[in-house]
Symmetry: C2
Subunit: 289 residues, 2 copies
């Protein structure tokens, strides 16, 4: 996994404009936001899904970059004062703290544009029409029917008591959509797979995406700011509904285990049991930060 994390870091470094390129302040802030940190879960999932379909891995770097650029943009905007107002991310001051709010806004906007540039400027698959479907998939997963929509539901739910299905609906959008898209897009870069395999992959991505959020909520409640690299206990301070606030610690842990087991099971029918994806799920469910 470390090797793949280095691959995406190198690929991001190559696609982000140099800090010396005008406007230098914006480019330096974009690099600050996207480089040198993060678990790179979404790129890892994209590489692993692409490997499963025997994709030309040199082409997959662009996919890995694109999903990570969208993720990075969302973090920059989510951390801004009008949203979650957070000052620490990946152990560093957030972009609006290290630079300023206007720069943070433009960094997010520009990282999103760059994601679509990267996804459209190199050949990802032999069929250009398939590549257009990939672009569409990332756009839908990022927008109001995906990640940004989930963020809107999240903001709207502050101070409210959500039911478990409502909480799930929020996270299916907020974190789930981009995680699912990372797997789906990765799997679209190689040989066509049959519908049953596609369904298995998608089921895995859905369960792993939800599990990612349950673990996130548990870590927020139980870990220290130093370990997380972002402000711990923030959800409770912000009065946000989480798996921990809705289910409590013990039942959240049970749910995480259940999601972990079921996501692994979804991989059983895939070639080599989806070994790489299994490793990433293992990391998602047992991570400490």
């Amino acid at each position: 996994m470390l090797e793949r994390q280095s691959m995406v870091e190198a690929a991001l470094n190559a696609v982000l404009p140099a800090s010396g390129h005008a406007p230098g302040g914006l480019h330096s802030a974009m690099r600050y936001a996207a480089l040198g940190g993060g678990k790179r879960i979404r790129p890892l999932l994209a590489y692993a899904a692409a490997e499963l379909v025997n994709a030309d891995m040199s082409r997959v770097d662009a996919v890995a970059c694109a999903v990570e650029l969208v993720h990075a943009y969302s973090l920059v905007h989510d951390d801004m004062p009008c949203m979650d107002d957070d000052n620490l991310r990946r152990g560093k001051p957030t972009v609006h703290v290290a630079y300023d709010e206007a720069t943070a806004l433009l960094v997010g906007d520009s990282l999103q544009s760059l994601a679509f540039q990267v996804l459209s400027e190199t050949v990802l698959c032999d069929d250009a029409a398939q590549q257009l479907r990939i672009v569409k998939m990332l756009a839908v997963a990022s927008g109001s029917l995906g990640m940004a929509g989930g963020q809107a539901i999240d903001l709207d739910s502050v101070g409210k008591n959500l039911s478990l299905p409502e909480l799930e609906f929020m996270h299916v959008h907020k974190t789930g959509a981009l995680i699912r898209a990372s797997v789906q897009i990765g799997a679209m870069c190689g040989e066509r797979i049959d519908e049953a395999d596609q369904d298995s992959l998608d089921r895995f991505a859905k369960l792993a995406g939800l599990g990612f959020q349950v673990i996130d909520d548990l870590l927020d409640a139980e870990s220290s700011t130093a370990t997380l690299g972002k402000t711990a206990g923030k959800d409770a301070i912000d009065n946000k509904p989480t798996y921990v606030s809705v289910l409590g610690i013990d039942r959240s842990r049970d749910l995480a285990q259940e999601l972990c087991d079921n996501s692994m099971r979804a991989l059983d029918r895939l070639p080599a049991g989806g070994a790489r994806l299994r490793d990433i799920a293992d990391f998602i469910f047992h991570r400490k930060f």
Copy 2:
């Protein structure tokens, strides 16, 4: 032109999710930001360029929507308190005033995603690889090397004395990049044109884009808020360098005339003298709002 403006309004109405679709608040705000106003210059340019290359006009709606969605997103973000802090746009309260800042942030983000969705989900030209080049062109024009980069230079220039070339550099990015891309993308939807015609079109778009900004600066200095539908005199209040502050009113007017003449001349060698584009340039250079 009115007919084309109605076409883009109808097309935008069709691609924007309904206000009743969850998350309803976000979708209602997206519709508020993108519908019912605006000169629709960029879509008009895209339609006119597409007509020149005998494109299937039913396909061009998506291009018209995409460039307008990017423009609309940029207005929503530019109006936010951390940027230009404006409370009036197209005669209505800006999005962060009518809704709130967090919603405005997500509206802009989601409109950008929607632009790339629209551009990738229907067939724009017979060659899918050409359509990928279109997606890339919009991404580059929107991002840090185009519009968002221009906005960063703009923010950085507050209170500074810019030379004419520096002012031009800013506007070539801030407004010029998307206007140029609108023409170029429109012209990529039909029959291939030779390099000389392409150069003429591009020269037209560059000059008209710059002229658009000179007129904008003149209107900001000379018109009323009621006529403009946005706060008049804002540039001077914000201490922003403009063509008026750098050249004065009279020389700015001379420059606008010169850009108008040269942009029209660039169209001479095109089929039918680029009649539709000529009409739009006429509108750009003689508009009152």
